[in-house]
């Protein structure tokens, strides 16, 4: 379960299957997905005709300006809301089924820890919900996960006693508790300062490398997307839609040194350009 993955090479990813039905096929697949919200007096087209596929074991980021529907996208994948059109499958199943089989781990922008539970009890919460293992087994698993995120010594601390970065690490440990097939991350470090965020990115990368899960991250931070991902999808607003896709052919394992790499700069600049162009497109069509 914790076998370290092979460093992903660019070749492997260029050949990665992107169509449903392939052997080892897509972990997440959206085809022609649109989402409308009925607001008082008007209708909001939050997402328009979005198609994408995330391969098993891949780390994919979605970037876009605020209001482009990227959080909506994640909540659709989690089955928390239903699409107005199109289909979503998680490993070939509808999201609701994947959710029932506890194949999804969700990390929110706010840590969303339950304040009356200790760090350990927050991590084991979803194991309790899933009635998985005995109390002792859940505790052992919880401590393992806290060890993984470097908070073994804070197992008995309540969230209020933890810093923002620590709270987020507890949130990640909790999301991993059920060994999810897919980790959904909704701007998990958006509220952190730059230094803490970079440190958290590094930790997330280490954790992901050890857990062999698929990750779908939503962020508005270009550097974060490049640093973490195999592939970055760019969205534009009004209506929320996909405008570009960029492969990140940077070698793994990655370290914070990457942040000074020419190629990293090049990719970040390209994505920033794409983000601005997406915005301009909107301006012209409106």
């Amino acid at each position: 379960m914790s076998s370290p993955r092979q460093p992903a090479t660019s070749a492997a990813h260029d050949q990665a299957p992107r169509r449903p039905g392939h052997p080892g096929g897509p972990a997440v697949s959206l085809a022609g997905v649109s989402k409308r919200f009925r607001l008082p007096g008007r209708e909001l087209l939050a997402l328009h005709d979005v198609s994408l596929a995330v391969t098993e074991g891949e780390f994919v980021s979605v970037i876009g300006p605020s209001g482009c529907g990227k959080s909506t996208l994640l909540r659709l994948v989690a089955g928390l809301i239903e699409p107005s059109a199109g289909t979503i499958t998680i490993a070939g199943e509808p999201p609701a089924q994947a959710r029932a089989r506890r194949e999804l781990g969700f990390v929110f922008q706010e840590p969303t820890l339950l304040p009356w539970r200790t760090a350990l009890d927050n991590v084991t919460l979803l194991l309790e919900v899933a009635r998985r293992g005995s109390a002792a087994e859940r505790q052992r698993r919880g401590l393992e996960l806290l060890e993984l995120v470097g908070l073994r010594d804070f197992a008995q601390a309540r969230p209020a006693k933890l810093s923002g970065g620590m709270q987020r690490r507890v949130g990640i440990a909790r999301a991993l508790a059920l060994d999810p097939r897919i980790l959904l991350l909704d701007e998990p470090f958006g509220a952190l300062d730059e230094i803490t965020r970079q440190r958290m990115n590094m930790e997330l990368l280490n954790i992901w490398t050890h857990q062999a899960t698929t990750a779908l991250l939503v962020t508005h931070n270009v550097g974060e997307a490049v640093f973490l991902s195999d592939r970055v999808l760019v969205m534009a607003t009004n209506p929320g839609r996909m405008v570009a896709e960029v492969n990140v052919d940077l070698p793994r394992p990655r370290s914070l040194d990457l942040l000074e790499d020419q190629e990293f700069f090049g990719l970040s600049a390209r994505l920033t350009r794409l983000l601005h162009r997406g915005d301009q497109d909107t301006g012209e069509s409106a």
């Binding site: 989690a78 959710r99 506890r102 999804l104 929110f108 969303t112 339950l114 919900v129």
Partner: protein, 258 residues
């Protein structure tokens, strides 16, 4: 620590000042000891009447406690039912507001006609007095549960019972105890009010009798005991809330950030 000491000192001075003003008015009063008995007179009345006061207080506390218990049970049941079955919420709350807007002082005589001047009337009035804050606070708390915590549970495939037990209920409990700190003194007030309409014992009836007999020190002694009861009820639930929910936001220092 020194800040706490300052606060304690400040409130001590305030109370002493209040007592001093009271004593001054009593001393300046034309007919000393009639309308404004000096603190010492009230103190001696408290001591002399301690047996009767304790007995009457016990009656009132019993009525208030029964009423409070009934009110909490009913309010919790209604709040939970209207949370589970949203269509019910509107009509249940209209009903509750209707009952709340009945003036208790007018309702008490009606209840005496229906059920006699026994325990029942007092319990019902005490319950009506304490019911509403519990219902409103609990309903509010259940509705304002952290929506992301609810999504977290749903994304993990939790049943609605699990969501309630693990998230909604713990989030609502501090609000429930906050409501108790209002509702418990209200129940004592309700019980005393109901005693005015007719009772054999109780602080309310003792208060009424001492007024009719012009026994001012006893009147003040009753007042002091009634205040002490309300204060004790408030304090008990405040301290219990602090003990049970040390994690609650109202008891935390400012949130720490990374």
């Amino acid at each position: 620590m020194s800040r706490r000491l300052g606060v304690a000192l400040g409130s001590g001075v305030a109370w002493l000042a209040l007592l001093g003003i009271w004593w001054l008015i009593a001393a300046l009063e034309n007919h000393p000891g009639t309308l404004w008995p000096a603190p010492a007179q009230v103190g001696s009345a408290l001591w002399q009447l301690r047996g009767a006061l304790a007995q009457n207080a016990a009656t009132t506390v019993q009525e208030a406690a029964l009423g409070f218990g009934a009110a909490v049970a009913l309010a919790v049941a209604i709040a939970l039912a209207s949370e589970r079955y949203r269509p019910l919420a509107g009509s249940l709350h209209q009903l509750a507001i209707g009952v709340y807007s009945l003036p208790l002082i007018a309702l008490a005589p009606v209840l005496v006609l229906w059920t006699g001047s026994g325990l029942t009337t007092k319990v019902i009035i005490a319950a009506l007095a304490s019911f509403f804050p519990v219902l409103i606070n609990l309903t509010q708390a259940l509705r304002t549960t952290d929506p992301q915590a609810l999504e977290l549970m749903r994304a993990a495939g939790a049943s609605s019972w699990q969501v309630f037990r693990c998230v909604e209920l713990p989030y609502a409990l501090p609000a429930l105890f906050a409501a108790f700190t209002i509702a418990a003194p209200a129940a004592i007030l309700g019980a005393m009010l109901a005693e005015w309409v007719g009772a054999n014992s109780g602080l309310g009836i003792q208060l009424l009798n001492s007024m009719q007999n012009g026994d001012v020190p006893q009147l003040y002694a009753c007042l002091a005991v009634a205040s002490a009861l309300s204060l004790a009820a408030w304090l008990a639930f405040t301290l219990l809330g602090r003990l049970l929910f040390p994690w609650h936001a109202s008891l935390q220092p400012a949130e720490r950030r990374a």
